[in-house]
Amino acid sequence: MLRLSRVAIFFLFTLSAGQLAAELPRAHWQRIPVEGGSELLVLYSALPDDPQTNEHTPVLSVLRDTLGDDDPDNDRLRYVWLLTGENRSRFTRWMTREPARGDMPRPLLDLGAPGQGLWKGLVRATVQSMVLDPGGAAMRVPSRSYTSGRQASRTVRLFEALRLLVRLRDEAERGPLAPEEYSRLLARIFVTERTFGGLVTDRGVVRILERDLEQRRLALGRNWELLRQRAEAEGLVFQPIRAEGEAPVAALLWLSLTDLAKSRNRPFDGRFLSIANPWNGNGPTEPDGYTELWHFDADGRRTADTAKAARSEEMLPLALYSLDHPKTPFLLIDFRSTWKPAMREFFRRLTEDLPRTVLGIAPMANLQLWGTQVAVHSIRGRRGAANQRTSRLRATASVRQSVLSMPQLEPEMREQVAQHLRVKSPSMSRQYEGLLDSSQSENGVRRRVRRDRERELAALLQPTRLRWSWLATVATAGLYRYHLPETPERLALLSRERRLTNAAQIVEEALAAKVVVDSSSHRILWAAQELALRPSAKAAAQKRTEGLLQRLAHQTANEQVRQEFLAMWKGTPLVTPVGGGTN
């Protein structure tokens, strides 16, 4: 029982841990130069409805290594930090070490080495399975619950930040980031939630993101329709709600007390609604608590103009759903039984965590149990059950983020919903302060940027030695890492290689998208020229370049452009500039 209470506490903590990211659309980027040739790009967002403050809250920061010049083609995005604060208990603060003043805070991800997160995660999982789990429930339950809670908190903050970034992208507000940089950043942040996300290529992660966004859009529409049709079938009133300029992410179901008086004990099918029968005689027959008076015109459309109203009805709120959930709407609030959604979530978590966390049964150790879980999960999922914790968190975060700016809600209803969902004002995390300090400190961001460049140079100029030095890195538990010191010549080489990598990516994307190149494909032509005129220092990269140019020659619209690419591939001098011909 104590164990279950602790689980419940952590569960409740998780629900409350999400921070409300700043309201849309007011957001802006700030550039903070860092000595040594890099800059911090910080995204701030504001909460316009917060009467207490007009401040912008930092949401996200990205470090860009510019090599100290104005050439955007040799820039590299590196570290990303989530800056919205999380509520951490004293115990959590005691458990986790805060970075020392001036040290670079731990980033969310390293865009230069996105796969690193996987290995750390594997190490953590191994320690949990091999050391903590066998230590008994006293070690297993708190450690797994702690990890799970932190993960949930991070998931919520991540989704809120992602939502903001996607919204800004849709409004073409990318700030100081180029379109490809922005897409890559967004996609990489998105896949941090996936175990193997860090190993996926840049093109792959962009596809993952686009597919997820598409699935999300489709889910919003489908859930909207599903809930509307269910409301219609059950004689209930459907109210979609949305933030300004967005598709509806939530919906309320209401019961007309006039209808209730006429149709008491009407049959009710609660499928997909997850609420008790509002029509039976056991439900409230008197307005008990919050109600609203709505007016409808002759066509049944709600109107605020009482002069046009053909009828007026008193409405009782029944439930709030998030539409941002796969397959079916997700019940967030049952106004008649506010404890039910939380209890339902508790039992879901119990079912999900019971075998592993409480009983210590590893999935692979008991294939029958695992198989049963998968089968039940699939069947329930097919029928629309909310099986995925990440999806449930996201569904909640989507609505919580927007609830204060939903004009369809009356102020009192908005307050009730905010209270139920435990919406809190955003707060700046200590990460932001730490990051600012570290950007000015010699031992902070600057030092990290320098080390990263030196490792990049080592990979470029001494790849074999770098590979063997990995053994020393492992032996010293990461204290020793091989690197080559920066010099102006080496930096120039680094700049050139980065430009070539950039150009190769452009050509690869054009080949993957099967773009037929002609004289108006300026960016592709520039990239091809770049690859042809500046050979790489790496033999493997140079070979790859030749292959790309050869393939590009076969994907052209006209003979002249094709001949130019073939000339580039063969290394012969160009007679006329690329793209000078006509179609």
Binding site: T201, R203, R211, G221, E225, R301, T556, N583
Partner: protein, 793 residues
Amino acid sequence: MERHAARHACRWRHKLIRSLRALLLVLFSVGTLPGEAKRVVIMKADGLPGWLVERMLAERDPDTGKSPLPWFERLFVERGVRVPHFYSRGVSLSVPVWSILDTGRPAEIRGNVEYDRYTLRAFDYLNFFPFYFRSALSKAADMPAVELLDDLGIPLLADRFGPGHTHQSFQLFQRGIRWEALKRAAGGGFPLRSPQKFLDEWQAGFALSSAVMDEVERDLLAALAKEQVTYLDLFTGDFDHLGHLDNTGPALRAVAIKIDALAGRMWTAIEKSPLAAETLFVLVSDHGMNTDPSIYSQGYNLVDLLGETAGGAHHVLTNRHPLSEYKLRGLDPFVHRVVTASPASPYTGASHKDYPTALLDLDGNERAGLYLRNSDLNVIHLLLLQLERRDLPVPVRRATEAACRQAIAKFAAASQSRLLSLQPHLDALATAGDELLARSPVATPGLAVPRAKARAASWRADHLAYQEARAAIGRLASFDFTRRPAAAKLMPKRFIGEPNTLHQLQNYVVALAPEGLQLTADGRLDEARSFRRLNYFDFLNSLTVRNVVQAGVGNRPVDFVAVRIPAGRLPDGLSANAAVWVSAGPRQQLLILSRAPSGNQPGQLKVIPIADLREDAEGRLTFEKLRWGAGLPLALFEDEAFAVTTAEREAWLAEWHSEHDWLAATHRTRYTNAVIGLAEHFRRDPSRTGFHWARRELVEADLLLLARDHWNFNVRGFNPGGNHGGFLRASTHAVLMLTGGGQTGLRPGVTVQTPYDSLSLVPTVLGLMGRCEPDLPGPAIQEATNFTCPAPR
């Protein structure tokens, strides 16, 4: 000397005149020669709307100065022929319209799913799983829609090019399957050779559909290099699939851009192919998409409605499970008959699977074809159930029995008359299958054997099913009431009987009256008081919903209901061969009258506004003629985009006009070519004989429902993104553009301002290839070419 000079001058004059005549003949004949295209490549983009393509062609990318569709612009606008006013003909639904586009003939298929009323055989034209399965077992060669067209003797455009000369992709009207492409796609979708690629695909979700499309494209590009292949097509359903689910502008534009890029790759390959100069490249779509980024398309569940008491308490048969994606049973790809039982059904004790009383297709989109069991059968069933009771008073039993006999006799007469007319064809069907198999011995290469097997099996099944229907009807008809009847043994199972007459649809028997059976003063059954009846027109037109939550979407899902009026029922003064009744309410009705072509005179249409049309039990029609005004279905009178001025409109509408004139007058209106479309949908060709043609009468729905703007009748799932199927302009506005090499006879840079519809594709293509077929009914697009085919009959 002078005589010699005069004779010489005369000779030269004659020579000059002859030369001038020859020159005139040459000049004239150049303008009337058919084209010389040797190859045609058709890109079929299902659901790509004309309005979106036109809009994007008009935009300019600030960076490139070009349209976001650069290939469409280069190929079709600058160098080819663009037909910006191209529309679906009939209901704007994929299967019917592709049947027109792929054959050049009027649609004989009227929905995505059709049912035989006598056997409940479902013709599910969209479900390709059974086809692929049977093909793998060499028991089928063609998609279901093609099998039907073969039965009707209607060839595809591709059939004219002969085996070995065609290259078809995966599509609704498909012959054969490219198994190699599927195999490669399966391997490509799981790239096991490259761990990185495998990881990328796994994390993104294995995209088998795009892998299939990649292989299809690769196959096509390879086929272009083969000179003997003269017909090629490539079908893409990407836009239609996404358009139903996603209404956001950027997503739809992205798909249009992808299709543009695909056209670019195809054209680049055509230019490198051996027949480049003689290749015609056509981009066509079947229909548009009614979508709006600020509106979700709202579904109205007719299955639930019909199952309720108010809707008739029907057991509703559909081709798949409603809400199939939320059911385990929905995973079964072979299901073709699902009956949703009504808890309020009056046919107690009867299995809902044996006695469905309403049939619907799940993917209705903006229209629904509703089949209802013949009302007389309902009467018989209800009376038989009453006669099973032991507590019926004697006078009531006697009256009920008499009424039941009478109803059975009436029903049997109609059914047996039908079966009698079908019998010679059914007898022929029995032997035709065996003869076909005998003509296709096992060793025959290609698809001849599986095709023969499929057709023979289908004919055998039809023959057997009709024999069973006949036996069931005979059992019922011969029951002599000497013993207590058992309804479950007497009522024909899986049978809904003859199409309902207008009178029956206006007085449809759904159940016994609440007070039960009533007798008249003279002891007969009072049918007027004994049954609860429903006027489906009034009922459907008066449907409203509780929740009205979107601007631009009203509270009434049904726009209007349309039915055929049999030619013999029309009053003489109308001088029409056929008519369609369009009803949006008691005082909002139209009659669309048709006259068949006669001599050199083309077919003509006329629309008259009416009210309160009714048919009595004897089949006599009565209605009130109205004056033209606002508020009638199709909004012809008040639509500002109608090409006839307001002052002249009433006079214009009072006259008969050809289809060409109707299309020209109405194509920009809200309902575009609805008048032609409705006449087309209900058209029948009485000259055709044979079982399959005769059966077409039995697969026609009783009622055609059209949804209001941004409403739909989908039940399989949800289509909030957008829909089509109706006659609204967004749904019917399709794409047709052509380009080609220098020797195709195509005029470059032409934008055709005349409106055309789906019937014009095939005659245009065939004309450009020098294969004019004068009996094709649609007009070729004259403005596009330097040729003239003879005008259609």
